[in-house]
Symmetry: C2
Subunit: 190 residues, 2 copies
């Protein structure tokens, strides 16, 4: 990504946090940057085109690396990254993600991107769950992803960042218990 | 609620489903009703005021009755209602709810309503989990609610209504397993 595109993405992030998707405009994005509206229109056709690139930008930042660790360590790593709430910036990032997710209802291109991200995540987590000995690893992955997504969505809606931090530990315990119930190898492999 | 207010709520629901929150206007709501804009402005100050009443309207529809059944039957009942996806209308209702939830980031009154709904739900479910013998019933309720909310949010974003129906059964199994892990009384009491 070029420097000016990167700068536009940063400005979009700031404007989205400040105004929300419904009130976002190219003008408000330009207001968050040194560059003007004309530079934004040089790179993007309209707000829709810009937001699609911004979704890619967010998804790239959220991308996981599935290291070659034990299943337990990898699940821990995913939770830490997905619920990454140590910094104010990461919390704002979660909020922006929620804004874009809901647009998928009305925007086919957004929907395709969320479908694809979901598919990749499920595939990877399903593999980890299978290695951990889960009976039905696909179901385990679906439930795991729902739990993460729902925790973020609820706590963002209620503005409860501290609550999300607490939930992180509870979720780790729950997933261990779930896998313990399905198999015996998980708690031994950690 | 008066007949004309009820009619405005129905029109708001239709307009929200069709256009999404970001593109919603009083004019578009009036277009979905026999009554004109002036009647809407007679009842509501502006779009914000109307949407707050609409959130109440949706939440009332989503309200649970916690019957005096066994814990397992009550949890089943909650899942059936929360994931009620048998009709097209209920699916549209889920989508509308997601739209409003994300507005809570930018609207304190919305946020308060979601906090309150969350609190009541957690209190009730925590009581059920406790009766079912869960060690930490508050954590169980948090996880349960996250799982429901995340499943809806993910499947709405990917437009996968059939997937949500499938997930419903998987969630029932998961919660049984979770409670089995915490206690022995749940599977016996069902």
């Amino acid at each position: 990504m070029s420097d000016s595109k990167e700068e536009i993405m940063d400005a979009t992030f700031k404007a989205l946090c400040k105004h929300g998707y419904a009130d976002l405009s190219i003008q408000k994005i330009a207001d968050e940057s040194d560059k003007g509206k004309s530079l934004i229109y040089y790179h993007f056709d309209d707000k829709g085109d810009l937001m699609l690139s911004f979704l890619d930008f967010l998804m790239e930042k959220a991308d996981f690396e599935y290291e070659n660790d034990s299943p337990e360590a990898r699940i821990d790593g995913i939770l830490d990254k997905a619920l990454g709430i140590e910094s104010e910036e990461q919390w704002e990032f979660q909020k922006a993600f929620q804004e874009l997710r809901v647009q998928a209802q009305h925007n086919e291109k957004f929907q395709e991107k969320f479908q694809e991200a979901d598919r990749i995540f499920l595939e990877n987590v399903s593999e980890i769950m299978s290695e951990a000995g889960a009976e039905n690893s696909e179901v385990a992955a679906e439930i795991f992803l729902s739990m993460i997504e729902g925790s973020i969505s609820r706590k963002v809606a209620s503005g409860d960042r501290e609550g999300l931090k607490e939930l992180k530990e509870d979720m780790k315990d729950t997933i261990s218990a779930f896998l313990d119930d399905q198999c015996c190898s998980f708690s031994d492999s950690g």
